[in-house]
Every structure is written in C-alpha cells, then in structure tokens.
Subunit: 288 residues, 2 copies
C-alpha cells in the first residue's frame, strides 16, 4: 500500500503472501495433515474436532481427498484412512530428500552466526566424506574441502557418523583399523579397555562430537548428526575453526547452534524426534 | 433439491457427489500429486505443464502447499520439492496400511463373482495364517478358518508366500522340514533335484499358485500375492472350492479374477508395479 520508494522488501509482507494463496486448498491440506497426525485413520467427528472445523465442512473436504485418492473410507465403518496416493506421495518425498540440499540454509546461517568453516559430510565408500563446504568471510586455512575423507576416530564428523552407526560392521572395522594405525598419543586419549565403545557412548550422551587438534593441528571442530525419516543418521553437520578461537565444547555456543540446525535439517528430511530417544539431541543418560 | 419421498439412494448420484466436494482443494491435491509424479521435484513451468494449468494459477496453489509444509522451494533455484509434511503423511499412511483391511472389498467381490470360499493369509510366526475368511452363500465345508496355519508347500496360499520370499532363511527351513515329513506321493509331485526352487519358479512365472487335493482332500485352491509399498509380499489372497467344481488352473476365471483383485489390494497398500518385474502379475519368463 505504501508509495514510498523502498528496495524490494524481503520477505514479502504477510498480507500479500496470504492473498496469493488459496484458502480452500489449505483447509484441505490441514484435514489431510490432521488425519496423518491422528495415526492415519479417524472418524469424521474425531477429525473435525482435531482440525477445529464443523463435521459438515470436513466431510466436504474428505470427499475431495477421497476423490483424489489420498484418503479412503473403510467399508462398513465410519473410519477414514490415508490411501494409496498418500503412500505414493511419501515415497516420492523420501526418494528426493537428501541432506546436502536440506542443509543448505543451515550452513549459511551457521557460517554467518559463527564465522567458522561449515560443512556437511556423509558416509561414502571410503569413509566420512565432505559433500558441501562453506567458508566464512575470513577463510580459515584448513586442508579439507569437498571430497575430503575424514577419519572416524579423530575427526568430530567421523565420530558422529560412527557413534550413531556403531553396530555397523563396516564402520566398526574401519575404526578398528584407524585405532591400530594411530600414534600412541592419540590412542592414549581414548579408553584403554573399550576405546571405540566408550567414545561412541560419550558422543551419544552429548548429542554431538568435539575434537581439538586430533585430526588437523591447531584446528578444533564440533559436529552434530542429521537423521532421516527412518531415524538413521544420514549426515553430519560440522563447524571448524582455530583451536582457542572459539568455544569448541559440547555446551558452547557453536555446539548449541549446530545441534539446533542439525535438528532443523533432520526435520526437513522427515525425521520425527518424538519417542526416538536414541536419536535425541541431548539425552541425560547415554543410550544403551 | 428433489422433494420426492425416496429412500436414501446408495450410491449418491454423481452430480450431487461433485457438489459436495471442494474444487480448489482438489486442484491443490492435483498439484501435490503432480509434483510426486515428477519425482518429487520440478520447476513451476514443468509442474504447470504436467497438471495442465497456468503457471500463475499453479503458483498460488504452490504457495499454499509451501505454507502447509508439503512442499519447499529450493534456496536459490526455481525448483519446488516435496517437503517434510509429505514424508510424514506417507509414513502415517504406510503404518496404518494393512492387507486385511485393504482386501475387504476384494474378498466380497470375489465371493460374489465366484461363489467360492475366499480368504486373506499372512506369514505368522507358525507359518501361513488365515486372518480373514469369507464364505459364499452356500458354504463349502472345509477344515480351515481364521487362525488356521497352512503348509508352505502343499497349500496354494503357502506356495505364494514362499515363492516371493524364497530367499528368507526361516521360510526355507520351514519348507525343508515339510518336505522331509511329506508322504512319498506328495514329494513325487515336485522336482526331484530342486523341489522347492522349481516350485517357487513356477509360481512366480504364473503370478499365482494352484493346488488340487494336496492340502485338503477334494479341495482345490488358487492364491495370488499382495505386495506392499516396498514391493514385499505381505499377504496372499486365496479362493478355494471343491475340486472339479470350478476351474482351478492358472489361466482359469478364478485365477484371473484373483490376480486382478490382488493387484487392486496391492495398489491400496501403496505398491506401484511399474518397473518391478519380480512382483509383476504374469511375467513371460520366471524371475531369476
């Protein structure tokens, strides 16, 4: 409404956005979402109560959802169920979900907020592999870039990917080999009796991993896990910078921001944290 | 609108049905479905072309889909992607999908069309177990009911569940044991060199299994597989009747109707047959 000559305001004002949308489509989607929240099946009255609309109105939207195959009505009952199109939609969404893209906005925010190098890594066939890398305005000189493979035991990234997949035989074997090949001073940092098991436990307990100078001299790093819809760790989100140049502790600002962004990326990957303790951000006791 | 005093007409006339639905909701769902069909990500112009609407119109619906979390827009690109709500919806739909309910209407249709006993069976911990049973108007007296466990090798139902899970060690062991305990005349019906492997191959090739008098004296049965969203066999749909009383061949009327209904139940379970040859109805060559 204003005629003042302003540069394009990002984001668009709320009112304008709303006018460009379609109210009836949103109500239909809210009914669909509500049926999902109720476990995928519900009676008309339960569903109407859940979405806060009249049964008559919800019934009309359900007729459209049935027509499009997203919902079916159970034969001889008053129950509405999510249908085949809902499954097909979910499968298509899962297939295209991937952590690099889901982490894009988070990487940018972390870089701006912390002025540290930020990256996303996944388990490749050679180990924990950097797949996306963002440098701050004043780059930190490190020997790491997209494609770099990081150790499982001596990098924060590797520790995250290892800890949540500690029962994976391949990862375990890779970690055992790293341990056998490690210089004495690194091995001395781990538990003598159960070095890998205890390391994994401490990472799970903290909800993130922290290293100082173990992988790159003079560099500290913090890493947090990204989970997919099945609750599996699918990536690690990591920040690194000069040791002493930032608080690289599990309760520091960087770790806190990182865990928060990793949770946002997990949510975008379809991960629902409710009830999944093993993937929780900060459990008070180590996961058994 | 009519004032004529008629009993409630089932089903409702098409026109009335349409008026009770919500056009804008259906357009929104069509856009959502279209994005799924395009692999879960597409540009506005691709999507508009796919659903046959103008880009301006599709853009408004996308704004609503984004608002409700079903779709996200990739940062710095013109691509729209299926979002976290689409994954959550699919997961809820998959969790509640179950073959007994999905097969309900099919069982009724089969019973009416064929006048045979129809049932759904799944693999329980004791073997192939009947979980839903429908009798025709003139019941056939058979020693089988809900809860009955059928042999893997000598019932059509068991053969279907075995054939599509022939690499499952537990099922293989159960079948081996049945073979060891079988009387000579039953063993003689199977291949001497590879009895279980060849039996499975023939069932896969036909897309269904047929038995005559092997499990129940005087009874023939035909069974077809139900697949879930992951392409796994999750149930068998079976019809049975007196031997000689119906065409119990793999190309007979009963087998044809059964395969068709099993395909419908699979679709309701989220199974998409495209490209999944191993789960195809009637491949011309046995699956390797």
């Amino acid at each position: 409404m204003s005629t003042t000559d302003l540069p394009e305001p990002p984001p668009a004002p709320r009112g304008r956005e709303r006018r460009q949308r379609v109210q009836a489509a949103e109500t239909g989607l809210a009914v669909l979402k509500g049926l999902g929240r109720l476990g995928g099946r519900a009676s008309l009255s339960m569903l109407a109560a859940h979405v806060g609309e009249s049964p008559a109105k919800v019934h009309r939207y359900l007729a459209s959802l049935v027509e499009e195959g997203f919902v079916t009505q159970a034969a001889g009952s008053q129950q509405y169920l999510l249908g085949a199109e809902s499954i097909a939609l979910g499968l298509a969404a899962m297939r295209q979900a991937e952590p690099i893209r889901a982490a894009e906005a988070s990487l940018g925010r972390l870089r701006e907020a912390l002025s540290l190098t930020c990256f996303v890594a996944v388990m490749g066939n050679k180990g924990a592999t950097i797949v996306r890398f963002e440098e701050p305005w004043l780059p930190i000189s490190v020997n790491a870039r997209v494609g770099s493979v990081l150790p499982l035991l001596w990098s924060a990234t590797g520790r995250v990917l290892l800890a949540w997949q500690r029962d994976d035989a391949r990862l375990r074997a890779m970690a055992e080999q790293e341990l056998a090949e490690a210089p004495t001073e690194l091995r001395a940092q781990l538990d003598a009796a159960d070095p890998i098991g205890r390391l994994a436990e401490s990472v799970l307990a903290a909800g993130c991993a922290v290293v100082k100078d173990t992988n790159l001299r003079g560099i500290s790093a913090v890493s947090a896990p990204v989970f997919d819809h099945a609750g599996r760790v699918c990536a690690a989100l990591t920040v690194l910078g000069p040791t002493g140049g930032f608080d690289a502790s599990v309760r520091g600002t960087a770790a806190k921001a990182l865990r928060e962004e990793a949770r946002a990326v997990s949510a975008a990957m379809g991960f629902a944290s409710t009830g999944l303790n093993r993937a929780g951000g900060m459990p008070t006791t180590p996961t058994p």
